[in-house]
């Protein structure tokens, strides 16, 4: 499969391998629901986005939303998956107040998308392949509100009928890092495609994680399904906890029973919900209100032709442009960072310098300020201008950071700021020599030390930079210092 290094966990009886598969529910980005015209906007007043179909009123019939089908096909293509030109909607029958018709319309035996794959990005530029088993469309349920009244529960049907894609992987992940990396990558792909906003806080993306453990290379163990894993951070926590629980259980002489467990984010643990045999019998059967969904191959090709460049292709292009695999992965991980970087390139930034600048300086500042890229105060063109000035020795790297700070808090054009505030780098040797002479004269003891230990030259560089207000060209300072101090060229 992949050449990645296995990450095993230690038990009393030796090493154990974690095997992870995932079922991700991703809300399809569309104006209206899967089978009704009701809107899907997040955060509306309870029951303000409910059609008679969603409410399960007598005589109401579902009508498939073409846009949702297109989005599912688009996602399937983005997962390099087989598109099934004929798929079937089934009814999954169970009673619950958040499910007005008493059944969820889903795809059971014949999903719209078959096998595909996702390449996940691991540490040090390593990648691994995670197989996709299938993708199918289904309806979301409504929401019960238990905190509105002392002894009544309320139902909000705004989500009822909203289109979801359930994406099921093969059991191809081997560590919590890989599980998190998969979800990150999947999220990036659907966001690039514009088929899901990937917003885990609002529940637009939810993951159920199947975890089992086995002796390395041994047969697969019994899996437990962990529900309610709704953040990237929790994925790793939930997997680690669950794998350890299973190893301890087996090593204590117990056996793992197939069950559904709930992740409790507060306690950082998984808790028993129900055993497999206690699950409802869903009595799946083809929904007689809907004809089999038949897609036109030409339409699928049209959708394929309209796909945007996806993270893997973008990453390859960035690497070709001179970026390290690591920098390229970081930049393509989020659609917004990639777009920001591309805007910098369009403004003339040199790729390698641009990537370094973004990853080391600008994104760090955004993180610290808790700002999304879209809300950041500095335009890509301004960042491009700053690194262009560094490249042309107009300003030093240090001044560049100052310029970024100024624009961050005050705005403005970087070139004009450098000009008006006199931040231009000094390359005039006579001015620099003067500063060097002053530093040498003031520190005769250091001069002796540096002759014995040439590495101390950097102390002199710092002093000279300080004396010139950071504007001296560090390269020039270095060269002149070596001459003055009589140090060897190399070192």
């Amino acid at each position: 499969m992949s050449e990645r290094s296995a990450k095993l966990i230690k038990g009393a009886t030796g090493d154990w391998e974690i095997v992870i598969g995932m079922e991700v529910h991703a809300q399809i980005l569309s104006e209206s629901k899967l089978f009704s015209g009701a809107p899907t906007a997040f955060g509306a007043d309870p029951n303000s986005q409910v059609s008679y179909v969603d409410a399960g009123m007598p005589g109401m019939l579902p009508v498939i939303n073409r846009k949702c089908v297109e989005q599912a096909v688009r996602t399937g293509l983005g997962l390099k998956a087989k598109i099934n030109l004929t798929s079937v909607f089934d009814r999954k029958n169970y009673f619950y107040p958040d499910l007005p018709p008493g059944y969820q319309i889903s795809q059971y035996k014949n999903p719209i998308v078959g096998e595909g794959e996702v390449l996940i990005d691991l540490k040090d530029g390593e990648t691994a392949r995670v197989g996709i088993e299938r993708l199918h469309m289904e309806q979301d349920a409504g929401k019960l509100l238990h905190d509105q009244h002392p002894d009544h529960s309320y139902v909000d049907l705004n989500r009822a009928g909203v289109a979801l894609m359930e994406i099921v992987t093969k059991p191809d992940m081997r560590s919590s890092e890989e599980a998190a990396a998969f979800l990150r990558k999947l999220r990036a792909i659907v966001r690039y495609l514009g088929t899901c906003d990937g917003n885990m806080d609002e529940g637009s993306m939810r993951a159920d994680v199947n975890v089992s453990v086995r002796k390395p290379g041994g047969p697969l163990g019994t899996r437990c399904e962990i529900k309610n894993v709704n953040s990237m951070r929790f994925i790793a926590q939930a997997v680690e906890y669950e794998a350890r629980r299973q190893v301890d259980l087996i090593e204590d002489g117990g056996t793992v029973k197939q069950e559904t467990r709930l992740f409790d984010a507060r306690a950082g643990e998984t808790r028993h919900m129900r055993f497999k045999e206690d699950e409802d019998d869903y009595r799946y059967f083809p929904d007689p209100d809907l004809m089999p969904l038949v897609l036109d191959q030409a339409w699928v090709r049209e959708i394929e032709a309209s796909l945007p460049e996806l993270p893997d292709a973008k990453k390859a292009r960035f690497i070709k442009a001179g970026l390290s695999a690591y920098d390229a992965s970081v930049l393509v991980a989020e659609k917004e960072s990639a777009e920001y970087f591309e805007a910098m390139l369009a403004a003339g930034a040199e790729p390698k310098a641009g990537a370094n600048w973004l990853n080391n300086e600008y994104f760090g500042r955004l993180n610290k300020a808790g700002l999304a890229i879209a809300d950041g105060p500095v335009a890509p063109e301004a960042n491009a201008a700053i690194i262009a000035m560094v490249a042309k020795n107009v300003i030093s790297g240090k001044i560049a950071k100052d310029v970024l700070d100024i624009i961050w808090s005050e705005g403005g054009d970087p070139r004009a700021i450098v000009e008006s505030r006199g931040l231009k780098q000094v390359s005039d040797t006579s001015a620099i020599e003067k500063a060097i002479d002053a530093v040498i004269a003031a520190n005769p003891d250091k001069v002796d030390e540096v002759k014995a230990k040439p590495k101390l030259a950097s102390w002199f560089v710092g002093q000279v930079m300080k004396a010139t207000g950071g504007k001296a060209n560090p390269g020039v300072v270095n060269a002149l210092l070596k001459v003055r101090l009589g140090l060897p060229e190399e070192g």
Binding site: G56, M57, G59, L61, V63, R283, M291
Partner: protein, 498 residues
């Protein structure tokens, strides 16, 4: 032109249309006569809800249009609507306690089509609960009585079902025509035993939107009328392709009335040999051969055909229909609308009590059957197998139609039976649909036309089955049969004295 009948309620739909259009009678006069007939006929229990004020209001609006020369196809013609069609602002019960207080905020596509054509609503007709029954005895609102009684008998007979209220309303001259729905014979069987015409169109011909669902892959709305011409006229204005119903089919709706009199000369009429069942009453056999003779005499060619999987039709139907029903009826849970049980401890209790109190015995029986056949471990043995049989039954018809244009069969295995006679034995009740269910399973059009009387004076019907979307040909054959049979008998209006 038409001559006015002595009593306005004796009009056929087409006659009334012509008379209203010619301003020989106003819609208000006509409607008033029917409103009175409906009120007088309460002993028959044909209506769950009467809407006299609405009827008069609609009639007066029609009269204004007629005066302005803006009459539409069914302008001012009073109809009865089966209580399975959702009617905006008018209680729609599906014959069930669980929907006994349900007032839809929307109008079904079929009824809306009728109002758009100018028709007037007299009220909502009684029916078997959720259309599950063949005698109208499973209704929460009590049984409907057949206007017909056997010669020298005062015993009440059933009007068939599930569209029993509509059948009685049409047969008893309580409306010009009515809508019905047919899942396994619910239009054709009651039509046959009340001496009227009932047509189940091809699946997909009429929209199911706004019709309370029983078995979605089988349900189809259709006309119930006093004449074949009326069926042609009413179907034209019920049918439409509907973007709200994914199973409705986008195919032109022809002017059925136009081709009605073209006769059957040269038509090949298939007689399916498997429909000769052991123990069928000789009267049924005689009626069937009479029917063939009449058509032959008019130039049709009679050919014997085979539908080899016919014997599997009833078992197949009683797996597929309950399976779909068990899912379709899950929404009646006491949470959002309809009957809600009091004093329950938890949500499961609310479901169990609301459904236990709200559904009658027959509906519960079918929900249980349907739940069972879909359960894991039984699905393959029942539901999956029934689906395969359904395909085979459908293929039987495709094969048969290679050698004939329409099929001729009896509509029912016998005449109307007594109230209470078959309620204790569900299987004998289910056998009523033996000649009609195959048509639903294959999605084909079928029409029942009155063709004779039993020895003790009860109506019997013949059925024509057509190719998909070829309602025109079965209407033509039915019209030829209607003429040849000269069926003119009428039930005595005994209920007026009651």
């Amino acid at each position: 032109m038409t001559t006015l009948p002595g009593n306005l309620t004796e009009f056929t739909l087409a006659e009334a249309r012509d008379a209203v259009r010619a301003k020989k009678v106003s819609s208000k006069e006509l409607t008033t006569a029917f409103v009175k007939a409906v009120a007088d006929a309460r002993p028959l229990n044909a209506f769950v809800t009467e809407t006299p004020e609405k009827a008069i209001e609609m009639a007066m609006a029609s009269d204004v249009r007629i005066a302005h020369g803006e009459a539409r196809a069914l302008e001012g013609l009073p109809l009865a609507i089966k209580d399975l069609f959702c009617t905006k602002g008018v209680k729609t019960t599906a014959g069930s306690k669980i929907l006994s207080n349900f007032v839809p905020p929307y109008e079904s596509t079929v009824s809306q089509n009728l109002w758009n054509a100018g028709a007037v609503m007299l009220g909502k007709t009684n029916m078997d609960e959720f259309a599950m029954g063949s005698s109208n005895e499973t209704s929460h609102f009590g049984p409907v009585f057949n206007p017909w009684r056997a010669r020298n008998s005062n015993a009440n007979l059933v009007p068939g079902g599930s569209s029993g209220g509509s059948a009685t309303a049409v047969s008893g001259n309580l409306c010009l025509a009515a809508t019905g729905t047919d899942t396994g014979g619910s239009i054709r069987q009651p039509a046959a035993v009340t001496g009227i015409v009932g047509l189940k169109p091809t699946y997909g011909r009429c929209s199911r939107w706004g019709i309370v669902a029983f078995a979605s892959s089988l349900d189809q709305a259709g006309p119930m009328t006093r004449t074949v011409r009326d069926a042609a006229l009413l179907l034209k204005h019920m049918a439409s392709v509907d973007p709200m119903d994914s199973t409705s089919v986008d195919t032109p709706v022809p002017d059925y009335e136009a081709g009605l009199e073209s006769g059957v000369k040269g038509l090949k009429i298939g007689i399916p040999k498997e429909y000769r069942i052991d123990g069928a009453p000789p009267e049924i056999e005689a009626l069937w051969s009479n029917g063939a003779d009449w058509l032959r005499a008019q130039g049709a060619e009679i050919v014997e055909v085979s539908l080899p999987h016919t014997k599997y039709a009833l078992p197949t139907y009683y797996i597929v229909a309950p399976a779909e029903a068990s899912s379709n009826l899950a929404r009646y849970d006491g949470v959002r609308f309809g009957h809600r049980a009091r004093a329950t401890d938890d949500i499961i209790g609310l479901y169990e009590k609301s459904r236990g109190e709200g559904f009658g015995k027959e509906v519960q029986r079918r929900i249980l059957i349907g739940t069972y056949v879909l359960s894991s471990g039984y699905y393959d043995a029942y539901y999956a197998r029934a689906q395969k049989l359904r395909t085979l039954i459908s293929r039987d018809f495709t094969e048969a139609f290679k050698t004939c244009d329409v099929l001729l069969t009896p509509a029912t295995p016998g005449p109307a039976f007594g109230v209470g006679e078959k309620t204790a034995d569900p299987v004998s009740m289910y056998l009523n649909d033996v000649f009609t269910v195959t048509v639903n399973l294959a999605g084909l059009p079928g029409i029942s036309v009155p063709a004779g009387l039993t020895a003790n004076g009860l109506p019997l019907g013949l059925q024509f089955i057509g190719k998909a979307f070829d309602e025109a040909t079965i209407l033509r054959a039915a019209r030829a049969t209607e003429q040849a049979a000269g069926f003119a008998a009428k039930p005595a209006h005994w209920w007026r004295a009651a």
